[in-house]
């Protein structure tokens, strides 16, 4: 079936370095993607989103890249800080199908080493 998944379950990064978290999706009809951050004991928190007609979008210290050719999404975090330690989920929606629910990937745990 169609799914959203992640390449790596864990990622350890030195404080100050850049982090790259990857996500693969298989539904070619997906037209909207979101990255969520989930800290321990908390619900998912929106980080950044991107439409399928874009290939890059930048926020504060975060950049999302979308490669529709290979159905790949990535989240780049610049100058990673200890507060960035969390599980990161990509999620997709097919807006053309109406009010579709978020489909989450399994998550990547980011650990920042001080």
């Amino acid at each position: 079936g169609e799914s959203v998944g992640l390449h790596l379950p864990t990622l350890s990064v030195q404080e100050g370095d850049n982090s790259i978290i990857n996500c693969a999706y298989s539904n070619s009809a997906s037209d909207y993607f979101i990255w969520y951050k989930q800290e321990s004991g908390k619900g998912p928190q929106f980080i950044i989103d991107i439409r399928s007609n874009m290939d890059k979008r930048q926020g504060q210290r975060v950049t999302v890249l979308l490669n529709k050719t290979v159905k790949h999404l990535s989240l780049q975090i610049a100058a990673t800080q200890p507060g960035d330690s969390a599980v990161y989920f990509c999620a997709e929606i097919t807006c053309s199908s109406g009010n579709t629910p978020l489909v989450f990937g399994k998550g990547t745990r980011l650990s920042v080493i001080a």
Binding site: G43, P44, F46, D49, F89, A91, T100, P101
Partner: protein, 116 residues
């Protein structure tokens, strides 16, 4: 800053018992959702609710589950006869309009349900 609140934070129940998980969505939001996350796994969609009716539900949301908006502020998830495999974190979310382009879903802190 407005937030989605959920109670209780942790619910322990015996297998076969009924549980009600409660959520207070953000006040001007119109769309409400329940998701669950089994320990170590991804967040899974259960149900979406709009205009006092279910708009979409997943295969997980079987006859044992029901949702209700009993008043203008609460949104509840009921599990009639809990099973061990219902143990998970349950997240409530709400959005101002349909989730999609430029419409963020806000999540609550979650209720941890433990079925013993």
């Amino acid at each position: 800053e407005p937030e989605v609140t959920q109670t209780p934070s942790h619910q322990v129940t015996q297998m076969g018992q009924e549980v009600i998980l409660r959520c207070v969505p953000i006040s001007n939001h119109l769309y409400f959702y329940w998701y669950r996350q089994i320990l170590g796994q991804k967040v899974e969609f259960l149900v979406s609710f709009y205009n006092n009716e279910i708009s979409e539900k997943s295969e997980i949301f079987d006859d044992q589950f029901s949702v209700e908006r009993p008043d203008g502020s609460n949104f509840t998830l009921k599990i009639r006869s809990t099973k061990l495999e219902d143990s998970a974190m349950y997240f409530c979310a709400s959005s101002r309009t349909t989730t999609g382009l430029n419409t963020e879903a806000f999540f609550g802190q979650g209720t941890r349900l433990t079925v013993v």
